[in-house]
């Protein structure tokens, strides 16, 4: 049995699956249910200074895609709308009752040292394991100079991280906003400020959809809408890329990363961890299906690790990072061709029309007057499109046909900037 126990900058949890700071971690009741279900830790929903914020009714918008009810979820909810003291008391109680679980407290206060200096000791006093600085939310709070308004300025990130480290002994995780042109700049700010780790991604600025009857963006609040934070399965590829960028950034060497963004299964988690995440945080999937999803995440990750011979998380965390490279270092002599398994082919023609209309005219539609789909190797560039559109698993596979040589763009004759050998 693989050991799933996790030690992330000194924050210990029985598994790497934490619930992200969000409605599921808003109060004692939810968090206890989460721990009962098996979650390794929680990041408590963001605390702010009193008077507490108020929220609107109608808070979430969802993208449905081809039968998937929540392919992406957007929210316009703000930070906790309960008094600070209530949250602190409940955090203390949960931590006392569940000492083996990670308790990280998310914070968002105005961008001045006094505010941070004020709230940090109170959090520390609850017995929480760490704080996470919410520099990410793109909606609402950013209009008040908090959330992503801070996260989008690397200097502010650095400054606040430094205050937090000065005024608290707790590990400090900085949660990064993806609503920035280069995520590495804010990670570097956090790193310079002495933060212990970064977590990413926070939600992506978004409008879920437009109600064409109301002529208003959704979720609609009495006829109006506003941009909100987008998350869920749809954002995972963006998050993976951003995690990998930080994992391989030489200016933030070894900075621990807590991965967030569309994680709903053990496989999603393993992918984030392979790209360098030491723990992962989940929200949308739990909001979609309930806390019970963690059971399969635990057993699935454990089985996969056993199968691969990974005894503990560190055995595979970051293992894919060296294979993330720049385009210019990709082997231009690598050559693959699509191969259609005629026994599996159901003759839907999707590979043909995709290739014919939008790619390389490399798949036939008929042979001897019959429906027949076959790759014309001379025309196939190995783009994978047919494989992706094919509805039958393993019907179209890509086969390597080159002779194993290597040659990348840096030395390619067409590259005017090529290195002269």
């Amino acid at each position: 049995m693989a050991d799933l126990s996790c030690n992330f900058v000194g924050i210990k949890s029985p598994n790497p699956f934490w619930l992200a700071s969000a409605p599921p971690t808003d109060k004692y009741y939810n968090v206890v249910r989460a721990f009962e279900a098996g979650w390794g830790g929680v990041v408590w929903k963001t605390l702010g200074l009193d008077p507490h914020v108020v929220n609107v009714s109608s808070r979430y918008g969802a993208v449905q895609w081809n039968g998937q009810r929540i392919a992406g979820l957007n929210n316009i909810e703000l930070i906790t709308d309960r008094p600070l003291a209530v949250n602190l008391a409940e955090i203390r109680q949960v931590k006392r009752e569940w000492p083996d679980r990670a308790m990280i407290v998310s914070l968002m206060v105005p961008c001045d040292e006094e505010s941070w200096k004020y709230i940090l000791p109170m959090v520390e006093d609850t017995g929480a394991d760490a704080v996470e600085l919410n520099f990410g939310c793109p909606h609402g709070m950013s209009e008040r100079g908090m959330g992503s308004a801070v996260g989008q300025v690397p200097e502010y990130v650095e400054m606040v991280a430094r205050w937090v480290k000065q005024h608290s002994r707790l590990p400090c995780i900085v949660k990064l906003t993806p609503n920035i042109s280069d995520i590495r700049s804010s990670a570097r700010g956090a790193f310079r400020g002495g933060a212990d780790a970064v977590s990413l991604i926070n939600t992506i600025n978004s409008i879920t959809s437009v109600d064409l009857d109301l002529m208003a963006p959704t979720p609609t609040v009495d006829g109006k809408g506003t941009h909100g934070g987008y998350c869920g399965p749809a954002v995972k590829p963006i998050a993976l890329s951003m995690v990998s960028e930080i994992a391989r950034d030489k200016e933030t060497p070894g900075i621990p990363i807590s991965g967030i963004g569309g994680i709903g299964t053990w496989r999603d988690a393993a992918e984030f961890m392979a790209l360098g995440a030491g723990s992962v945080q989940v929200c949308t999937a739990a909001m979609h299906y309930g806390f019970r999803i963690v059971e399969d995440m635990i057993s699935g990750l454990s089985s996969w690790m056993d199968q691969k011979g990974y005894a503990r998380l560190d055995d595979f965390v970051g293992k894919a990072v060296p294979n993330v490279t720049d385009w210019k270092f990709l082997n231009l002599k690598y050559d693959i061709k699509a191969l259609i398994n005629q026994d599996l082919c159901i003759k839907c023609g999707l590979c043909h029309i995709a290739c014919e209309d939008t790619a390389h005219q490399a798949i036939t539609a008929s042979k001897n007057g019959q429906r027949y789909f076959e790759v014309i190797d001379d025309e196939c560039v190995g783009c994978n499109l047919c494989m992706h559109v094919c509805p039958v698993d393993q019907c179209i596979t890509m086969t390597r046909v080159d002779d194993g040589e290597f040659g990348d763009w840096t030395t390619h004759p067409n590259n005017p900037m090529r290195a002269v050998v």
């Binding site: 159901i346 003759k347 839907c348 023609g349 043909h352």
Partner: protein, 451 residues
Amino acid sequence: MARKQLADVAAGRLSVQQLDKNYSDVAPPLDRQRALIEAQRCHYCYDAPCTTACPTGIDIASFIRSITTDNLRGAAETILDANIFGGICARVCPTEILCEGACVRNGPEEKPVEISALQRYATDWVFDDDVQLFERGQRTGKRIAVVGAGPAGLACAHALARQGHDVVVFEAREKSGGLNEYGIAAYKVPGFAEREVEWLLSIGGIEIRHGQTLGHNLRLDELRGEYHAVFLGVGLAAVNALGLAGESFTGVRNAVDFIAELRQTADLSTLPIGRRVVVIGGGNTAIDAAVQSKKLGAESVTLVYRRGPESMSATVVEQAFAQTEGVHVVHFAQPRRLLDEQGTVSGVEFEHTALDAAGKLVGSGEYFSLAADTVLKAIGQVLLVEGAVKAGDQLALNQGRIRVDEHFATSLPGVWAGGDCVGGKVDLTVQAVEDGKRAARAIHAAISKQA
């Protein structure tokens, strides 16, 4: 109800409530949620096999995609433009041998997309809301006579009306619709056939004259003289006989007459049916007659077919349906004698049959009898030659049906024909619609050339 040993034929074997239940929609419509789930199963095949398999060539993948985007108008237009009887076809087509039989999902999953249910979902609203999707073209002043208000005739009439021609439809029976109205099991189309025809006619430019029978009060030579073109969609009005003595015994009926009577009976509790029913035949008419007998309350219904299940023209799905409904199906037995007591049928004597080495059906010399209060004959319909052919002009025939070329032109100039009366591929509503549609195209082309 006490059982009688002879002529146990009675109405009201079941309660009105039970009859209502038995004759309610056999395949209820999908709601939006179910329709979306099913529509999303469609792979949106390129040059889709389902479309190729549809006699009317409905672009099925496209209409299903329209369902997924809530574009029901677009979906309905796609369907009804190709097949103006798309509503009834969604209910009666043997899709297992047509579109759904060709669905690529039959491969890995053995579960095709439910195309007929989706087609019904996409079109029901059109008839419910009485939405006119098609416009009548500018009046051309050309007049066309259509004989027969069945699927072929009305499809032809509608297509011609869209082109702006004036159409007069001559129909022998009281109601329009042909087999849709008189020849299909009631539970497949409850209340629908009439509504569909009303909708179809609402395009305008089509006049229907009932009680007009070719060869009786209608002459083909006169129609040819009075109209720019004539389309014959007269169907198969005659019924094959068993060729046995006693076919006129009380209690022996043609299945088509029984089905027609049932379809025209408002209160089914007034319709008599035998306690023991024997149906002879292996087609959809036999199945419809047998199942409806059972649903009327017959105690036992036995469907006897002289060959094996694979030779039945009723599809495997229809056969299974009949069996599920409690019909006992007997294969490889042919009727030899109708039994009676003083002119009232009491049963049928059958001979077991088998295929010999050459594949020819032969009697085994072994006999058995089934007691029967009602015997329904369903061994096929044929062209009523007196009506269709000897109606003033001589139409050439081909294998007992009206001979037509690839444009549905008959041997007589200015006369086209389609549907069951010409035969060809399959005797189905959907094929009749396609014939009518194509004939209309040919007629339009021909009369547009005339001055």
